[in-house]
């Protein structure tokens, strides 16, 4: 054995040695899986009939989706007046949800792209579903800017297209327009990224499933993938390019979203800290959401061997750091206000902490800054149940962060005569719930029809398997 190895390694000058390879492979996938097992384990859930749990989850989210649809229809039929907004508070639930969902959408690309660039192999177990989540989250996000318009049927005016108005284009100075471009670009690139990653796995499905509708679909979308090394070579290049593009994109998108506020004159909005603050927040909430979903997924689909405690822990670490960043931002805001000597600025922040919406503010602080601190403790962050709860809490907290930023800044701005209060209407709340319906409906369907884990990538990071004693036999054994 030993000498044979030397014999081989000697001539193979430009091939990496087994040691090198081994060095590249920390134990990520437990249970001594082999590529064949990977294929089986991950494709199985799709072959099986959906579990009762899946059905339960699906019907709940579908119900929510339907309710939301009804709410939105009603709102579009009657007018934005069916929301609790007023002359002073022109945005509340709508844009809060928008920013919330965009934020969630960030972890996906972050995990698949940024971690890819940083050669974080553990990403392979989570990136597929993270990307899917991104897509669905951005869909939900995109919904709100459209329905929050007074005349949504004219949304297409946001696009710069030649027209008979002589010719009137769009206002490239408006952050809202930047949003339009940012969000749509983000959605498209993420979708492409996700699909590219999916092609080899679709090929696998195509080859292992017996003739039928699924095979046909798989073979259409796998574009005739045949695993040729030349293709793999180019594929890898493009995948890296996309990762390289997506990374700045992730940051740009939330930076631009934050500019919706940062470029405004309203105290509490008009601040330069917003871009980093929002990006950190977005990643924070995104990770929390990914983790939430992953924890559910590994339970429901018995993927404990692929999504191990290692994954959960490393994500917890990321979350902790992001959470602390966000906390720092909260502090900085107050410092800047105090230091600026601008009474309006100062008032806004005092009003946040002590005014009519203080309850929201303190919910936000405790959910995002205080509670996540428990992740400092190893046993806790390796305890799935605890992590799950914390993730939920963080999601709540991050929603409130956006709510606080938007509503408390607006409801008491410069002229006291215009100060007003805000309370959501039924329609608004149902619409919000509906967006969750949309999200989970999509995600659950995704779990059924596509491999939730990137098989081709997992196989690439499998621990070096124990060398089989008699290759011929195993060969015979295999060649049946």
């Amino acid at each position: 054995m030993v000498e044979s190895k030397q014999k081989r390694s000697a001539p193979a000058v430009n091939a990496p040695s087994a040691e090198e390879l081994a060095a590249l492979r920390p134990t990520l996938i437990t249970g001594g899986k082999r590529p064949g097992d990977v294929t089986r384990d991950i494709c199985e859930p799709m072959d099986r009939k959906p579990t009762a749990l899946w059905w339960a989850a699906f019907s709940v989210s579908l119900a929510a989706l339907i309710a939301g649809t009804i709410a939105v229809t009603y709102q579009i039929a009657f007018g934005i007046g069916t929301w609790g907004l007023n002359r002073t508070v022109g945005w509340a639930f709508d844009i809060t949800n928008f920013v919330f969902w965009v934020g969630i959408g960030h972890a996906g690309t972050l995990i698949s792209a940024v971690l890819f660039l940083f050669r974080q192999k553990w990403r392979t177990s989570v990136n597929r579903s993270a990307e899917a989540m991104t897509l669905f989250a951005v869909m939900c996000a995109g919904l709100f800017p459209v329905i929050h318009m007074g005349r949504p049927w004219l949304a297409f005016w946001m696009g710069p297209y030649p027209n008979t108005r002589g010719s009137l284009w769009v206002n490239f100075k408006s952050p809202l327009l930047w949003d339009v471009f940012a969000i749509s670009t983000y959605l498209l690139i993420s979708a492409v990224f996700w699909y590219i990653g999916l092609i080899p796995d679709l090929a696998t499905i195509r080859d292992r499933s017996k003739p039928g509708i699924r095979q046909r679909i798989a073979s259409i979308f796998s574009l005739g993938w045949n695993g040729s090394a030349r293709t793999w070579h180019r594929y890898e290049t493009v995948y890296m390019l996309l990762a390289g593009l997506a990374t700045p994109l992730v940051f740009s998108v939330h930076t631009i979203v934050s500019m919706d506020f940062a470029t405004a004159v309203i105290p509490g909005w008009h601040t330069t800290i917003f871009p980093p603050y929002f990006v950190a927040g977005a990643i924070f909430s995104g990770l929390a959401m990914v983790l939430t979903l992953m924890i559910i997924a590994r339970k429901v689909m018995q993927l404990e061997n692929y999504i191990t405690i290692v994954h959960i822990e490393s994500m917890c670490k990321l979350m902790l750091s992001m959470g602390s960043l966000v906390g720092l931002a909260y502090g900085t805001e107050f410092f800047m206000a105090a230091y600026s000597g601008n009474p309006y600025e100062q008032f806004v922040f005092l009003n946040r902490a002590l005014g009519p919406f203080s309850w929201a503010y303190w919910t936000m602080v405790s959910c995002n800054v205080l509670i996540p601190q428990v992740l400092w403790f190893r046993p806790l962050r390796r305890n799935v149940a605890v992590v799950f709860v914390i993730c939920i809490i963080i999601n709540i907290g991050m929603w409130f962060e956006r709510f606080v930023i938007i509503v408390t800044s607006l409801h008491r701005d410069f002229l006291p005569s215009s100060w007003a209060h805000y309370t959501p209407t039924t329609i608004e709340i149902i619409t919000f719930i509906g967006s969750f319906g949309l999200f989970f409906t999509c995600f659950l369907l995704f779990c059924r029809v596509a491999p939730v884990i990137a098989m081709a990538e997992i196989k690439g990071v499998l621990k070096n398997p124990p060398r089989s004693k008699a290759p011929q036999e195993s060969a015979k054994g295999d060649a049946v």
Partner: protein
């Protein structure tokens, strides 16, 4: 409508008036506008259909006979007289294509001087009211004039034979012609009386003058000549007698300049917070029963100063803590003797006699109070009313005719009266809507709307004005004048009657310089709207001191005292059908839609009541009780309640569904209720006058809540104490100074900003080659009367949104008036700040609009393009002044008659678009085109915005800031000028002039200290 309207026959300027065909033209286009706006919503789906979409076929109906000189689509103005109330201000009626659209003040009118109040501005919506009675009613069923006349005449004849009593009840009649007609009508009857009943009576003033000057007249108050004004509860800037005139006069003395840093000194003693009080230099909150004593002591002090002390004290001593105030005031009054004025709203004749005494001591008669040429704007005689009630209860009346006033609504004990009325053989109502009396009257002979009929007025002895119709009556209505003449056997058109009366009575009284043929005289008057003639002799005897005697000691009663007052937007039941007025925020409380109980903060705290708690107000003994929501009113004296009259009128339940209807919307009017509650039940007759002040009132909580629809929910420039940043406790949105400080330094009171406007981040590459429109508002003149709000609403098609939307802070008024109470007690600054789009040069709203729906014109206007707007509301969020208004719903435009009130020059905004003050850009464009087609530059003042035109105080200056000679350029150089939130460098085109209060500097000092710490 078969015969041509009078004015078409008569060959005078009225000729350019109406022709329903033309109206029909615009109606059709209105309809199509609505249709379009609906269609607009689906333009997207329409686009799918490609080019095949055709606009709805529109027909244009030119009038078959071209009215001479009428130019289609052009606004034409007719001088007329507003008869919305007996003040009879001058009015310009703007008509377009035969539709009266816009009421404006008549420039140069001796009384109103170019201003017009909110009520006058709101006349058009009342004209196009589909629920106005369209034909006479007989026993509640619609009938026709012939039968009604025949029967009325018949029963009158019987009454005449039976020598039964005939009573004609009207409010103050300023129209000489109508007065003559009334006399003619009553003359043949043995026992006939004309009873004058004002919804809020000023009988006591007239009675007092009868006793002190032997003439029952109402003096003509000359506020413009008064250096010191002392008002005891008289809300002369809001509702008292002739508010527009008084506002103009008062504000003419409120403009201190560098050259002459002088202004009048105005003290207000009152127990509730009135608009006048909120504008006073010094406002003293007093218990109502203190009024007499205070006047008494003041008279004594003046007596001492004048060297003729009064023989015996007129009243019990006023409580000692008013001592210093009175001494100071007495001195000031005495120093300004002959140029001071004391007015009082009391309905106690004794008190009014003391007021007369004071004015006599100060020698104000013939200077600031004119008895030679008295006012005729209020002539109510409450004794007459009291007798009438007695007669009604005693069934001694044969015929009761009621015009322009709702007897049953405005008088107490309406139930017993209703029974009494049922027994009267002939009851005739001239109401335009089925009010409470009309409901029980045998005949209802609906009167014309003001804009439909000929009339005249003599508000001031010797000042007569004409009111001309501007369109053919929309329904089969008839002027009261015509009805009375018809029944007294001289049927004829009102036009003929007026003209005849003028020829016989007015023309002979003409002045020397007047034209000497009647036709010329008539035409001239018709053209300018009014004419000054010799006033009738009325013999006034010198002041009789012995008429003044000691005031009766008011009996001490348990519980609260109640002040009944008029809300400025609702001066009488006549206007209760007017949605614009209902939605006009009260200038003081900012509450719309209905009345409420004003409670002082002390009492509220003591009894744990908060805004919106429904309480039961009852008076011991009398069964009358009311359930109304509470409004805690800063500045109201403790143990005082105040409720507005003229609410709870029959028929106002029509407004139940006026707002948008969706599942969480609350109705504007609750099930089988009306807008507000009628408080007339608390009115009481005492010593021959109607008392609007009651004592011994009980207040009990019901535990229920009713959210008041207020347009302002935070009332101070000081942010809440507990969250106030150091130095930022008070916001310098409105700048103040005092006269002393101003005299020393004209720039005193200027807020210190950390920013110099010179350094700019961006290059100045946006020139204003042609014009640069701007506005300056003098906060020292502005009283907050809110006439501008309605002017704007009428000009710019601002929709009425109803109680629920206002409650949700979604009122649509483009122009709002912010009202702030800042500080405590007598040092409290009460500010009224008109706030509309500031047309910022660096407009934050423009930058953020993704679709270029709001951009800047090269004339400095912030343009809002409705048809481009997609409704992201980003602009509204980013507006520091929060002046943008969003169309949350499709506000109802389904009443095709009501739609005639819409201004065709202004787009009716569809659902989901943003709107805001456009600085009346339609007027600017029209003005520019007019000037251009005459080849001349736009003259300063040729273009006026709606708010500016209507402002009784002429506090608003609008013009071209590029034009160095213009009024606005002068105003911009005024040292008092400041801009709101200047430190944001948004560079508003709207500036304000600092408030100058005529008081000691002390409370200014501590304000300064504030600013130091804020800037430091």
């Amino acid at each position: 409508m078969t015969q041509l309207p009078d004015n078409l026959r008569s060959g005078d300027p009225g000729l350019h008036g109406p022709s329903l065909e033309i109206v029909a033209l615009d109606e059709s286009s209105e309809v199509s506008r609505r249709r379009f706006l609906e269609a607009a919503g689906f333009s997207f789906s329409l686009a799918a259909l490609g080019g095949c979409g055709r606009a709805p076929v529109e027909t244009s109906l030119p009038s078959p006979l071209q009215p001479a000189g009428a130019i289609p689509g052009r606004l034409q103005y007719y001088a007329s007289t507003c008869t919305g109330c007996p003040s009879a201000c001058g009015m310009l009626v703007g008509t377009r294509d035969g539709r009266p659209l816009k009421m404006e003040g008549l420039p140069g009118h001796p009384l109103s001087g170019g201003g017009l109040c909110a009520v006058g501005q709101a006349l058009p919506i009342g004209l196009y009211d589909s629920q106005r009675l369209a034909n006479p009613l007989q026993a509640g069923k619609s009938s026709d004039w012939a039968t009604v006349d025949q029967q009325v005449v018949e029963s009158l004849r019987q009454i005449k034979e039976a020598a039964k009593a005939v009573r004609l009840v009207t409010p103050t009649i300023t129209s000489p012609t109508l007065q003559a007609a009334i006399d003619r009508f009553l003359e043949p009857f043995a026992d006939a009386k004309h009873v004058v009943l004002d919804s809020v009576s000023h009988s006591a003033i007239l009675d007092a003058h009868q006793q002190t000057h032997a003439a029952r007249v109402l003096p003509h108050y000359r506020f413009e000549q008064a250096d010191v004004i002392v008002s005891f509860g008289a809300d002369f800037l809001g509702t008292w007698i002739s508010p527009v005139e008084f506002t103009a006069a008062w504000s003419s003395r409120r403009a201190p300049s560098e050259a002459s840093p002088e202004m009048s000194y105005h003290v207000q003693f009152e127990s509730r917070m009135s608009l006048t009080g909120s504008n006073a230099d010094r406002r003293v909150s007093i218990a109502p029963e203190e009024q007499g004593p205070l006047l008494g002591s003041l008279a004594e002090k003046i007596g001492e100063l004048s060297g003729q002390p009064l023989s015996e004290p007129l009243a019990r001593r006023a409580s000692s803590d008013y001592g210093p105030v009175l001494t100071d005031l007495a001195k000031r009054l005495w120093d300004a003797r002959g140029k001071s004025l004391v007015v009082c709203d009391s309905q106690d004749v004794g008190v009014q006699r003391v007021v007369n005494l004071l004015n006599h001591q100060l020698g104000n008669y013939d200077s600031t109070l004119d008895l030679k040429r008295p006012s005729r704007q209020r002539q109510a005689n409450d004794r007459g009313v009291e007798e009438l009630i007695a007669e009604m209860k005693g069934n001694q009346i044969g015929a009761l005719l009621v015009a322009e006033v709702d007897l049953l609504h405005d008088l107490p004990e309406s139930d017993s009266l209703t029974e009494a009325i049922a027994k009267i053989p002939l009851t005739v109502s001239f109401a335009t809507h089925e009010d409470e009396f009309a409901a029980v009257a045998k005949f209802v002979c609906p009167d014309h709307h003001v804009l439909e009929s000929w009339a005249d007025a003599e508000p001031l002895s010797g000042l007569v004005s004409l009111a001309q119709p501007t369109l053919r009556p929309l329904g089969k209505t008839r002027a009261v004048l015509e009805s009375l003449d018809a029944w007294s056997g001289r049927p004829g058109a009102a036009y003929e009657a007026v003209r005849a009366h003028w020829e016989e009575v007015i023309f002979p009284r003409r002045r020397a310089d007047a034209p000497d043929t009647f036709l010329a005289f008539w035409e001239q008057t018709l053209h300018q709207g009014f004419v000054e003639v010799e006033s009738e002799e009325n013999l006034i005897e010198p002041f009789k001191i012995d008429a003044v005697d000691t005031l009766a000691q008011p009996k001490e009663a348990e519980g609260f005292s109640l002040v009944l007052y008029q809300k400025i937007p609702m001066p009488g039941g006549r206007h209760s059908q007017n949605p614009w007025l209902h939605e006009l925020p009260d200038p003081v409380t900012k509450v719309t839609w209905g009345n409420y109980v004003c409670v002082s903060p002390e009492d509220a705290e003591k009894r744990g009541i908060a805004d919106g708690d429904v309480v039961n107000v009852s008076i011991s003994g009398v069964e009358s009780s009311l359930e109304l929501p509470v409004l805690v009113q800063i500045g109201q004296h403790k143990d005082v309640l105040a409720i507005a009259l003229a609410y709870g009128c029959k028929g106002t339940d029509r407004f139940a569904k006026i707002g948008p209807q969706w599942f969480e919307a609350r109705p504007t009017v609750a099930e089988n209720e009306f807008v507000g509650k009628n408080a007339a039940g608390f009115v009481e007759f005492r010593d021959g006058t109607q008392q609007y002040l009651r004592s011994g009132i009980k207040l009990t909580k019901t535990g229920r809540k009713f959210e008041l629809a207020a347009t302002q929910t935070y009332h101070s420039l000081e942010v809440p104490k507990e969250i106030a940043p150091r130095g930022g406790e008070r916001r310098e949105i409105v700048e103040h100074t005092t006269l002393d400080a101003f005299a020393k330094d004209v720039h005193s009171g200027a807020a210190e900003h950390h920013f110099d406007g010179e350094t700019q981040l961006w290059p100045e590459d946006h020139p204003r080659p042609k014009h640069s429109w701007g506005m300056v508002i003098d906060l020292n003149k502005c009283t907050g009367c809110s006439a501008c709000v309605i002017a704007c609403q009428s000009e710019n098609n601002v929709p009425v949104v109803g109680y629920d939307e206002v409650r949700r802070q979604r009122e649509m008024h483009w122009m709002r008036i912010d009202r702030y109470y800042t500080g405590e007690g007598e040092d409290m600054d009460i500010d009224h700040q008109p706030m509309m789009c500031q047309h910022c040069g660096n407009a934050p709203c423009e930058t953020v609009c993704p679709v270029l729906a709001t951009v800047h014109s090269d004339e400095g206007l912030n343009e809002q393009v409705y048809n481009r707007c997609v409704g992201t509301r980003y602009c509204a969020n980013n507006c520091p002044y929060k002046v943008r208004r969003f169309n949350w719903f499709k506000y109802p435009h389904d009443d095709s008659l009501q739609n005639l009130v819409l201004n065709p020059d202004v787009t009716v905004r569809s659902r989901g678009v943003m709107e805001k003050c456009s600085m009346c850009v339609q007027r600017i464009e029209a003005g520019k085109i007019e000037a251009k087609s005459h080849g001349q530059p736009v003259a300063d003042g040729a273009i006026q915005t709606a708010c500016q035109q209507s402002c009784p105080a002429s506090a608003i200056v609008f013009g071209d800031m590029n034009d160095q000679g213009s009024k606005i350029s002068a105003a911009l150089d005024n040292p008092r000028r400041f801009r709101v939130l200047e430190e944001l460098n948004v560079r508003p085109s709207v500036s304000y002039l600092r408030v100058v209060k005529n008081r000691e500097e002390k409370n200014n000092a501590e304000k300064h200290h504030n600013r130091e710490s804020h800037s430091g």
